[in-house]
């Protein structure tokens, strides 16, 4: 992991040289070779100032910390493990339910990417915000939305978190500050910026000293070619918004390889999204997105930075989805070798091995966690199955926050005041 210099002020240098970073982040040697081959050998330029991220407090472990000392406490490790296993089992259950005809439409599963969601979101406070794309089930679960509500939403039942009106791609929770769930990639990022703006506004304009909530936006490599991404990078850096951009680079946007869709920075062989951060004036970090502890470490820095009011960070997490883009995707373009390579880096067995090795959990603990997850997933399916479907009368209830927006009918009353309105139509005449 990132080596810590022996001083009270902790400065973590984020090298722009890919190879140095790979070794700094303790990427396995074989992977380093692969990365070297991908990135080309480019000597680091000594004259260039590396982007610096300053830590908020003295590190929990002393400067003499070695690889032998665990990075997290047993409680945290078990929470991370629980969250990742819940995410995985939930998504696998979604696949089953979809093929059994319990849910329809476009369902995008997160299997394989759990380390990113768990690594970032489990660090957030309840008043922090999360914005996602259509691959949002696990972000919802990590943020605290109950599995029951998510599964019921997927089944289209009125007990779903969005009363069955959102569906797989539009998970919202005002209680847990999950701002969606967006089908058009890129359109959620400015919304996340708005939440960050609100946080800064509360502090600077409304004078609330305690207002320091942070917003994390999650999106993929494909989104990094959408104009709104760049508009958002610019505004976030310009206004120093407490926002963290988390790119879940799983190399594929449906069938479009990241390498075919994205141009390279001059001198590079492969495209790097994290390099776009410094271009806009914020730190850009590349992290191994299959290792939850590494993601957590980087996210910790970024979130604390944002909370201190120092502005946004761009995190590129190298990750992979084990399933196709959606349940309708035949997934024929990705090679078996690539899939196997990433399956070998599955974040859940990685964390399990780490916990056992470091003595953070016993086999019995792990079995107990897995049993708890299995029970929760079964329970949420049962709940969703038994939940009632939305009635016709629900159709018009949430179109407007103020139902006067439906207008005034011929008899002079507001349309919503007329009896039987909500089981009627929104037609004007």
């Amino acid at each position: 992991y990132i080596s810590i210099p022996d001083s009270s002020a902790l400065v973590i240098r984020i090298p722009t040289d890919y190879c140095l970073l790979a070794s700094a982040l303790r990427v396995p040697a074989r992977m380093q070779v692969l990365l070297k081959q991908r990135s080309g050998i480019r000597p680091s330029q000594p004259g260039r100032r590396a982007v610096q991220v300053r830590a908020v407090a003295a590190p929990v472990k002393s400067a003499a910390a070695t690889a032998k000392t665990p990075l997290v406490t047993p409680e945290v490790a078990k929470d991370l493990y629980y969250d990742m296993v819940l995410g995985r089992e939930f998504e696998e259950m979604c696949a089953q339910m979809y093929y059994r005809g319990k849910m329809f439409g476009f369902v995008h599963l997160y299997s394989g990417q759990e380390a990113v969601s768990t690594g970032v979101i489990r660090l957030l406070r309840p008043d922090d915000y999360v914005v996602s794309t259509y691959r949002d089930h696990v972000h919802a679960l990590s943020k605290g939305v109950s599995a029951r509500e998510v599964m019921a939403e997927l089944f289209g039942k009125k007990t779903g978190c969005c009363r069955g009106q959102g569906g797989s791609m539009h998970m919202f929770s005002s209680k847990h500050n999950l701002l969606g769930g967006y089908a058009f990639i890129g359109e959620g990022i400015p919304v996340g910026l708005g939440a960050a703006f609100q946080s800064k506004y509360r502090r600077d304009v409304l004078g609330d000293e305690k207002a320091d909530s942070v917003t994390c936006s999650f999106f993929g490599d494909g989104t990094c070619n959408v104009g709104q991404f760049y508009e958002s990078l610019n505004m976030a850096a310009l206004y120093k918004l407490p926002h963290v951009f988390v790119v879940e680079n799983n190399l594929w946007a449906i069938g479009m390889s990241h390498l075919r869709a994205t141009s390279r920075t001059s001198g590079d062989v492969d495209p790097y999204i994290y390099k776009k951060g410094p271009a806009f004036g914020m730190p850009g970090v590349l992290v191994d997105g299959m290792d939850v502890l590494k993601v957590r470490q980087v996210a910790q820095e970024a979130i604390e930075r944002a909370r201190r009011g120092e502005g946004p960070t761009l995190i590129e997490a190298e990750t992979y989805r084990f399933r196709g883009h959606s349940l309708a995707d035949p997934d024929e373009l990705r090679s078996k070798e690539e899939k196997a390579r990433y399956q070998a880096r599955d974040p859940i067995p990685q964390l399990k091995a780490y916990m056992l090795e470091q003595g953070l959990a016993t086999e019995a603990d792990i079995k107990e966690i897995e049993a708890r997850v299995a029970e929760e997933v079964d329970d949420c399916v049962k709940f969703a199955d038994e939940s009632p479907k939305p009635e016709r009368g629900q159709l018009l209830e949430n179109v407007f926050a103020d139902p006067r927006g439906f207008g005034i009918a011929e008899d002079g009353r507001y349309r919503y005041q007329q009896p039987g309105f909500s089981s009627g139509t929104a037609v004007v005449s």
Binding site: G181, Q198, K200, Y201, R404, G405, A409, E410
Partner: protein
């Protein structure tokens, strides 16, 4: 009835000084003193009324903020936020970079989390770039979130055909936005209703798209006080009449009223209804008027195809068919991009003479009516 001087300016006769140019030239902070003097007089210009509305609402509610291009230090391209940044600071009157989709989305996120942003499109046409955010997020999020988040934002800006501004600066977006579920469309037309409606829109919990008109910013009139709000869903009966109802909105109201001057001399008695609420339609006012006059003419500035008039015409046919003595006549702009040349631009939009001719056609000549 409006003072004929105002009507002439608004109608855009060549003899009147071009209001748009004057506005741009005069947009300097030094005008603040001048504004104070003007406020003491009874009549103010529409841009001042809008500015008053924004100022009063920002003072009343600290969560109200403005976002847009050049709204802060520049004071707004049409001076609607002149000097407000000095009073409220750079964060409450936020100068955004040129990224409509981005900052409109930022407005949506801010609205969802408790603020009440007013997003200004420097020209309504620029909001085409923000269509993603306006349609998907602004309009729909209250619904797709199952009612968990509301989006109390106002999207405002000048639209309509100006004075030879070219096709892209002369767009009428009310017809493009009218299908978006979950938004309300409001078009102001006088100083009084502009201020009252904008205040109501800011206080509304629904997303409101507020249409102003480039040529109406210098129209003079009396504005209401700090607590005068207009109903966002009500139409305004501009002139009571018996022969025919002319439905209109925004700048076309002045064109219609100029035509009414001629029509009255010719012996007609038209009723003029300013729609104000382009979506939803005020069916009470509309149906009452049609039951009375039994004839309807729609005079609008947007294109014929898929315009506000098209929707209104369909609605009138469906619900008031038996009340009509004549088919609904629509006078809309030609389905052409607005040319730069004055003559072609004038031929694109509805002129007062066309309104007179339509009323004569619909009502028949006065000699026949009196017989």
């Amino acid at each position: 009835m409006l003072a004929s001087r105002n009507a002439r300016v608004a109608v855009g006769h060549r003899v009147a000084t071009a209001p748009v140019n004057r506005a741009l030239l005069a947009a300097r902070p030094g005008r603040c003193g001048l504004i104070a003097t003007k406020a003491q007089k009874k009549e103010i210009m529409m841009w001042e009324a809008l500015r008053e509305a924004i100022d009063e609402e920002m003072e009343r509610d600290p969560t109200v903020c403005v976002m847009g291009e050049d709204v802060g230090h520049y004071g707004g391209s049409y001076k609607c936020t002149l000097g407000l940044y000095k009073k409220y600071g750079d964060m409450r009157v936020l100068d955004t970079p040129i990224c409509e989709n981005g900052f409109t989305g930022m407005g949506v996120g801010a609205a969802m989390t408790g603020l009440r942003p007013i997003v200004e499109g420097m020209n309504m046409g620029f909001l085409l770039l923000a269509f993603n955010q306006i349609s998907n997020n602004c309009g729909m999020l209250h619904y797709t979130s199952g009612g968990q988040f509301k989006v109390p934002m106002v999207i405002r800006g000048p639209g309509g055909v100006g004075r030879q501004l070219g096709a892209e600066h002369s767009q009428r977006l009310e017809s493009y936005f009218q299908s978006i579920p979950g938004v309300q469309l409001v078009a102001c037309s006088t100083v009084r209703n502009a201020k009252a409606l904008l205040k109501a829109a800011i206080r509304s919990d629904n997303p409101v798209i507020f249409f102003e008109h480039v040529l109406l910013y210098n129209v003079k009139g009396e504005a209401g006080g700090a607590e005068e709000l207009a109903c966002l869903e009500r139409a305004e009966v501009v002139r009571e009449g018996t022969d025919v109802t002319i439905f209109t909105y925004s700048r076309m109201r002045y064109v219609v009223m100029q035509a009414v001057n001629d029509l009255v001399k010719k012996g007609y008695n038209p009723e003029v209804v300013d729609l104000i609420s382009l979506k939803p339609f005020d069916m009470e006012t509309i149906s009452k008027s049609i039951r009375k006059t039994r004839k309807a003419i729609i005079v609008e500035e947007c294109m014929k195809t898929g315009g506000i008039g098209a929707s209104l015409s369909a609605v009138i046919n469906e619900s008031l068919f038996n009340e009509l003595d004549h088919e609904v006549v629509r006078l809309s702009s030609q389905d052409v991009p607005t040319a730069y040349a004055y003559e072609l631009e004038a031929a694109t939009i509805v002129q007062a003479s066309q309104v007179v001719e339509a009323v004569e056609r619909v009502c028949g000549s006065r000699a026949m009516a009196l017989a």
